[in-house]
């Protein structure tokens, strides 16, 4: 019986983990403002972007290494909204992604790309390191070491 409960519980947590919420940039700004001293490492990716998929494990390592620090890794998918159920959620489940995953819910690329960073061409992968004081945007692929160094030297 106890085992059954554990299985049920783990199934519930698993399905909670596999949630992918829709996110607007207003949502994101509010989250950053409420985050006090938290630094957010926000990776813009898509299931169809192979270099993005390749660097996801490095973001997981960064998340695990900073569990006790005020650091949050947010994975923001730029997949089409129509692919949320068919592609994005199954991808997150299959790859057992533990970080918070969102799907960007912004209709106008002309507006949201510039709002995230004026210099961003729109190419992914791209990553934003942001807290209340600092905002650094990188249109590039990261290695594991580059990720932790960028976080450490963020000023």
């Amino acid at each position: 019986m106890r085992i059954l409960i554990i299985i049920c519980l783990s199934l519930i947590t698993y399905s909670v983990n596999a949630q992918v919420k829709l996110l607007t940039l207003d949502n994101l700004d509010k989250r950053i403002a409420k985050g006090k001293d938290t630094t957010y490492v926000i990776n813009f990716w898509a299931t169809w972007c192979s270099p993005c998929v390749a660097e996801l494990p490095d973001f997981e390592k960064l998340r695990l290494a900073n569990l006790k620090k005020p650091v949050k890794v947010l994975l923001v998918s730029l997949d089409f909204k129509s692919k949320l159920q068919k592609e994005v959620i199954p991808f997150v489940q299959k790859n057992n992604i533990k970080a918070e995953v969102f799907l960007l819910n912004e209709p106008d690329q002309q507006k949201y790309i510039e709002r995230i960073d004026k210099k961003w061409s729109g190419a992914i992968p791209a990553t934003l390191f942001v807290n209340k004081k600092v905002r650094r945007f990188y249109e590039k692929e990261f290695t594991e070491i580059e990720l932790s160094n960028t976080l450490l030297t963020l000023k």
Partner: protein, 201 residues
């Protein structure tokens, strides 16, 4: 003397900066010679009667570029006869992504029946000159007395999924405006695309 060094340094760094930036709207484009999928070389100067060019950085593998393949073909079908041919350039390195090889480009051009050149830029030279950063990435040029001038940089339209009947066709609009002797109302746009797969090392 120190000042001279400083000025030299500033000049060098601004030069490096300018190089990574690539062309902006209004800049004159340097002509290039790249190998087409038919093994012949193509330069902009080959098009004696062109009024301009639709230079499209695209590739074999990027899902966004693939979603736009038919729309790129349609652009050539509509605008080549009006003096604006499509010139497609693959900016990706085949060493980094094997499916971007010249042979795979040839296969794609054959399969999709490309009516326009599909050029390989194996050392990213032209890609860096233009400052293309992703696929697809479009540069519309117009031929003038000063040379080929960049008139538009950005996306083909604002609907990669091609599902919105009210989508804005940026490239078509810009071409129609140029054909009418006007400057494009919207001269630059942004869109999500695949990063360029640069040569490693």
């Amino acid at each position: 003397m120190k000042n001279l060094f400083l000025i030299g340094f500033i000049l060098i760094s601004s030069h490096v900066f300018a190089q990574t930036q690539g062309y902006q709207v209004g800049d004159v484009v340097r002509d290039f010679t790249l190998k087409n999928v038919d093994n012949k070389t193509v330069s902009l100067a080959d098009y004696k009667d062109a009024k301009g060019y639709i230079v499209v950085f695209t590739c074999n593998t990027c899902p966004v570029a693939k979603a736009y393949q038919d729309r790129v073909s349609a652009l050539n079908a509509s605008y080549e006869s009006k003096g604006y041919p499509v010139v497609a350039i693959n900016p990706n390195d085949a060493g980094t992504v094997p499916d971007e090889s010249f042979e795979k480009m040839q296969a794609l051009a054959k399969e999709k029946n490309f009516s326009f050149p599909y050029l390989s830029d194996p050392n990213h030279i032209v890609t860096k000159q233009f400052g293309a950063l992703k696929t697809p990435h479009v540069f519309i040029l117009s031929k003038t007395e000063k040379g080929n001038i960049v008139e538009y940089i950005g996306a083909i339209d604002n609907d990669a999924e091609d599902e919105n009947p009210d989508k804005i066709n940026y490239v078509q609009n810009a071409l129609n405006e140029l054909s009418a002797g006007k400057k494009p109302v919207i001269a630059s746009t942004k869109a999500v695309g695949c990063s360029i797969k640069w040569k490693k090392g």
